[in-house]
Structures are given as C-alpha cells and as structure tokens.
C-alpha cells in the first residue's frame, strides 16, 4: 500500500518524460527556424509595395480575355536545311547555351553533382517555409558548330557572358568574376568579387564589358561593380526572385517571387528598373511570366508568355509603356522558351509540355502576320546571333536533354 501511494506519481512522471521526449523528437524532425539575415530587405519591400499599390496592374490571377483567339496565319516562313544532334553521349547533363556575339561558338552550362552550401542567414526574412540550401558547381563547355569541336572552359563556373568582341568569356566561379581568353585558352581572376551569400552566389553576373552586377557586402543590394558609371541604381533581391538584364545592361526586369514576408502573404510582382532609378510595375501574380521574359535584341521590347487560363504571348514596348498580344491560344497549351531572332522580326517559342499535348517549336512574326510550326517535339529554341541557326533541345531517354542545331533558310523575308 505504501508503494501504491507512489504509483500515480510514477505514472505521471513517465507521462511527462514521454511527452517531453515526443516534443523533442517532433521538433528535431520539423523545420528548423531560419535565422534572419542582417538585411531587413527594406528596399525590396519598398519596391514591391510601390508596385502593388498600382491599381491597374496586369494580374494573371484575374485575367480572362473576353476576346477570341489571336492566331497568326499558318504560313511557311523558313525551310529547314539541316537538323543535327550536337551533344556527345558522354553522360553529362548539357543545359542552356549562350551564343557568342558572332554566332561562331556557344557556351553550355553543364551542372555536376558538386555543390556549394548556402548560409541559413541568407533566407528571405519570415519566409522560413522554403529554404535554398545549396547550388551546383557546373562545368562550362565551349562548342564550335562549324568544326564540331568541344572544349572545357572550367569545371566550376556559372552564368557565362561573352565579351562584346567575342574574344573572351566572363563567368562566375562561386563569387569570383573570371575571364577566359579564347586565344590562350586560359582563365584568370578578373579582379571583382561578390560576397559569399545567397545573393552573391545566385545573382552575381558578369556584364559583357567586364563589369560585375553583384552586392558589395553581404546582404547588400545588387550594384554594378567596376568602372565609374554604374548604369543601375541598387536593386535588392531575395532568393525567390529572378532578374533579367537588358542587352545593354542599363535596364533590368526583376520578378519578385511570392512569399510570406513579415508573416503576411505577398503576391509575386514584376518590375522594370530604369537607369535613373525609377521603376515601372509590369505584372502581378505572374511569376511564370517573369521567369520566361526575354528582351528584344534592341532592348526596346520585352516578350513573355502567360500561363493564365487562356495562354498568351505578349510584347511590352519599353518606350510607349504599351503591351500588345501577339498570340492568344484557343487551347490551354503551355507557352514557354521564347527567343527573338537577331533582327527582331520573329519569335521562336515552345508550345505544349508533352503532357496534355506534345511539345513543338513554333516561329511567329512579331508583326503578327504569320506563324509556322518549325519542329514536332523539341523545346527551348535559341536563335543564333548571325541568324543562321536555331539551337533547341529534345528530351532524352538517358539524360534530361539532348541539343540539336537546326539550320534554315528563309522562304519569304517578311516579319515585324
């Protein structure tokens, strides 16, 4: 009976111990809290709020055109002369390519299994639900189509950018700006560096003149480093964002991603930053469009697809601020992978996603007069600067993508 007196206490003790253990285990399995960075992202919040305050912003969440489809007339614009697979069967994952300005060569990004860890403190404050933890190390491979020759530039590079004279390739090795010389086949540190942060690793990118768009200090906004005349005011971005530089690096579109900033849901918003520091809000709730935006070769227009209920390809004119619909489908097919022809008269794009409908590559004249299905299957068309080739990809059984080079001749010289 004396022992029985302690039984309930014992039972309670066991229960409390088990409860504590359970809570500890549950905590260890759940998401660890993200430490807030030293930046409060005030500049970013200011820009996003200013954009969202604009009442007539194009909103992909509510857009539903009453008008009918916009489908340029089917017409043969180009004739395919040659269509050959160029990527070797070497087990590498060849991804996107950047053409040289003269169209004689291209650099392909080849991600590897190696990676760089991202600091916890770089996460967007209060958005502790999605954490970027690492980014890949990548090979950069140089390819000369005329000779069918491949050459490795580096085993660790990202965001390759050709110099204006096509003699060098700038790229990021982690946070270091590197310069690869085509004549000597050697790479050197170009003297500029971004701090080791998520923003430094993700967003730092070379400009064709050897300058660098990067933060100056950890958690600082992006600025142009090197030279005396920065072409852009500081731009603050977080790892949910996406930036698209204009051809002359004097304007940039930033797709600010949706997040739970400050504990409240903030929708995605896309903004054009001008050289004088002014901003033009472009889109709301259209993060897919922001990721898929492409500048025209002159830097005067921006084309993008929408993945709204009725998909469209739209063209925004920077000078007039007007947007026009180039294509409006009568189906729900995904539109993606836009690429301008070097003369700006055509856009190539992918229609379909191999799920509801097969993928195919189309070209459309930018004056809206005609369109042509160029290939059955294929995606990610990439027009060469000399206007002679279109590089594109096809899904592969052995790896994600094989790349093909398509040579064409114009059947009828007409366009926008």
């Amino acid at each position: 009976m004396r022992n029985a007196k302690f039984f309930p206490v014992f039972v309670l003790l066991v229960a409390v111990l088990l409860l504590s253990a359970g809570i500890t285990i549950a905590r260890s399995q759940g998401a660890e809290p993200v430490q807030q960075g030293s930046s409060d992202f005030e500049l970013r919040a200011e820009t996003v709020n200013a954009a969202l305050a604009q009442n007539n912003l194009f909103d992909c969440a509510t857009y539903y055109p009453d008008l009918g489809s916009v489908l340029p007339v089917d017409h043969q614009i180009f004739q395919i002369v040659r269509d050959v697979k160029i990527t070797p069967d070497d087990g590498r994952e060849y991804m996107g390519a950047v053409w040289s300005p003269d169209g004689n060569a291209m650099v392909l990004v080849v991600p590897t299994d190696g990676y760089r860890d991202i600091l916890d403190s770089d996460a967007l404050p209060s958005d502790d639900e999605t954490r970027l933890v690492a980014i890949s190390r990548n090979e950069l491979m140089l390819y000369f189509p005329n000779q069918n020759v491949w050459d490795q530039i580096t085993s660790d590079g990202a965001r390759p950018t050709w110099s204006t004279d096509a003699q060098s390739i700038y790229y990021m090795m982690g946070t270091d700006l590197m310069k690869f010389d085509l004549n000597t086949r050697t790479a050197i540190y170009a003297g500029l560096r971004a701090p080791y942060t998520a923003v430094g690793l993700l967003f730092s990118r070379p400009l064709p003149d050897g300058r660098l768009l990067a933060p100056r200090q950890p958690h600082a906004p992006l600025e142009i480093q090197g030279g005396k005349t920065p072409a852009l005011s500081p731009i603050e971005v977080a790892d949910s964002d996406h930036i698209v530089l204009s051809p002359w690096s004097d304007q940039v579109v930033v797709g600010y991603g949706a997040n739970t900033f400050g504990g409240h849901f903030v929708p995605a918003v896309t903004v054009l930053h001008h050289p004088n520091g002014e901003i033009t809000p472009l889109l709301k709730n259209c993060h897919f469009s922001a990721i898929e935006m492409v500048w025209s070769p002159t830097g005067k227009q921006i084309a993008y697809p929408t993945n709204t209920d009725i998909p469209e390809i739209r063209i925004y004119d920077v000078e007039s601020g007007q947007t026009r619909v180039l294509v409006r489908l009568d189906t729900g097919d995904l539109l993606s992978g836009l690429s301008w022809s070097p003369d700006g008269k055509f856009l190539a794009f992918t229609q379909g996603d191999d799920r509801s409908t097969p993928r195919s590559i189309w070209v459309v004249s930018t004056n809206g007069a005609m369109r042509q299905r160029l290939t059955e299957g294929g995606l990610l068309p990439n027009w060469s600067p000399d206007g002679r080739h279109i590089l594109y990809a096809r899904p592969s059984a052995d790896r994600l993508l094989d790349w093909y080079l398509l040579e064409y001749t114009a059947v009828e010289a007409e366009g926008g």
């Binding site: 409390v16 996107g96 639900e129 970027l132 897919f288 995904l334 994600l400």
Partner: protein
C-alpha cells in the same frame, strides 16, 4: 484514508489519461512524415538549386502551376489538387526517409548519404512537373490550407510496407478532370482518378514494380 484513496485514484486516472492521450497522438500522426521535402530544381540559369521546403509550402508552389489559379478553376477542384499533391509529397518523403524496401521506390534519386533529394524539373525546361519557387497564389494557398493534412491512404497496411500512404499521380488530364466535374474535393478526386479507362494504381509514384491494386484509398487528415 478515503480522501487519500480518492487523491490516489484521481492522480492515477490523470496519469493514465495522459499516457493514453500520448499514445493516441503519436499513432495518429505517425503517417504524416515529420520531415521536410528536399528537392533539386533547375533554375532559369541552368544551374541546380537545392531546396528544403515544408510539405505545405511545396504544395503551395506547385498547385497554381499544375492546376491553375484563374477564375475558371473551381475551389473544390483546387482543393482536390492540394490533396493529390500532398499525397505525393507524403509518399515521397516517407519512402525516401524510411527507405521502404518494397516496392522499389526510393523517390530521392539523387545524391548520397545525407544529401538525398528529389529531382524536380519544370516542364518548360524539359521536365514533367511544375514546382516553381515564389509562384504561390492567394486562391491556391487557401485551397491548401482548407484541406490541411488530408492525404490518400490504403485501407490496410500491405505486408512489408512501413505505412499505408498512397502517392497519387497527376498529369494535365487529371487536373482538368477535377475541374470538369462537380462535387466536393473528395468526389472530384474519385471521379478524376477512378474513371480514367486505365487501371487505377495508387502505388505507382516512384515505383519500379507496381502493385496493381484497384482499391479506392481513404482520405484521413491525421
């Protein structure tokens, strides 16, 4: 003495209640993976980015791109989508973390050791699914929150399996079917996946050798 017995009885009952509650709580949540989702995504600059997301955040950044968020999408269709994506995420996380020996379905195909992850590639870059960071929407977030915890499970635990989870597949056809019918999210899922003309296989995701069962899953939220 009577008072002492009453106190002892009360304390014992309290302790036992606590223990029972603890037992019930732990078994009730045993099927919901306690781990976050780890995955690799191909960024627009063609590098790989590795993410850890909560399972609900994964749904919120997938649902608007796989289903939609415009006015033509019914709330119940979006809720059906949230439950289907959640079922896939639970399956993937548990299969991979628990490394279930059968069927052969470790869904985290990449990496090794503690760097295992699931490979996700957007359809615009050659993949088959649409997780896009930063793409969540008000309507699809609401649909996700409204169905919090609901997922598909088998009626009974198959031999050799660590749990009853079912990884529901979805493709563009199924998404549209959840919207082309009427009813609750549950009725819409059943319409979309049970009448497809091909055998309904709730065990197929990440599986190399499928269990060709046609059993309709249950949809608990615990």
């Amino acid at each position: 003495m009577n008072k002492q017995i009453r106190v002892l009885t009360t304390l014992t009952a309290l302790g036992l209640t606590l223990l029972i509650q603890l037992f019930l709580t732990s078994s009730a949540h045993a099927l919901i993976p306690g781990y976050d989702h780890k995955h690799r995504y191909i960024k627009p600059d063609y590098t790989y980015a590795y993410y850890t997301t909560t399972k609900e955040a994964y749904i919120k950044n997938t649902l608007p791109n796989e289903w939609g968020y415009g006015e033509t999408w019914h709330d119940n269709a979006l809720q059906a989508g949230a439950v289907m994506i959640r079922s896939g995420v639970y399956w993937r996380v548990n299969r991979s973390v628990l490394n279930s020996p059968w069927p052969n379905n470790n869904c985290y195909k990449g990496g090794s050791g503690d760097t295992l992850y699931y490979r996700t590639v957007p359809t615009s870059r050659g993949g088959q699914e649409q997780w896009l960071p930063g793409s969540s929407q008000t309507r699809t977030d609401s649909a996700t929150n409204a169905t919090y915890g609901y997922h598909a499970e088998r009626v009974s635990l198959p031999s050799g399996r660590p749990d009853k989870l079912v990884g529901l597949r979805y493709n563009a056809t199924i998404q549209n079917r959840t919207n082309s019918t009427t009813g609750t999210w549950l009725q819409r899922i059943r319409y979309a996946v049970l009448n497809m003309g091909t055998p309904y296989d709730p065990n197929v995701e990440c599986s190399q050798e499928d269990d060709q069962t046609n059993t309709d899953p249950t949809y608990p939220n615990n």
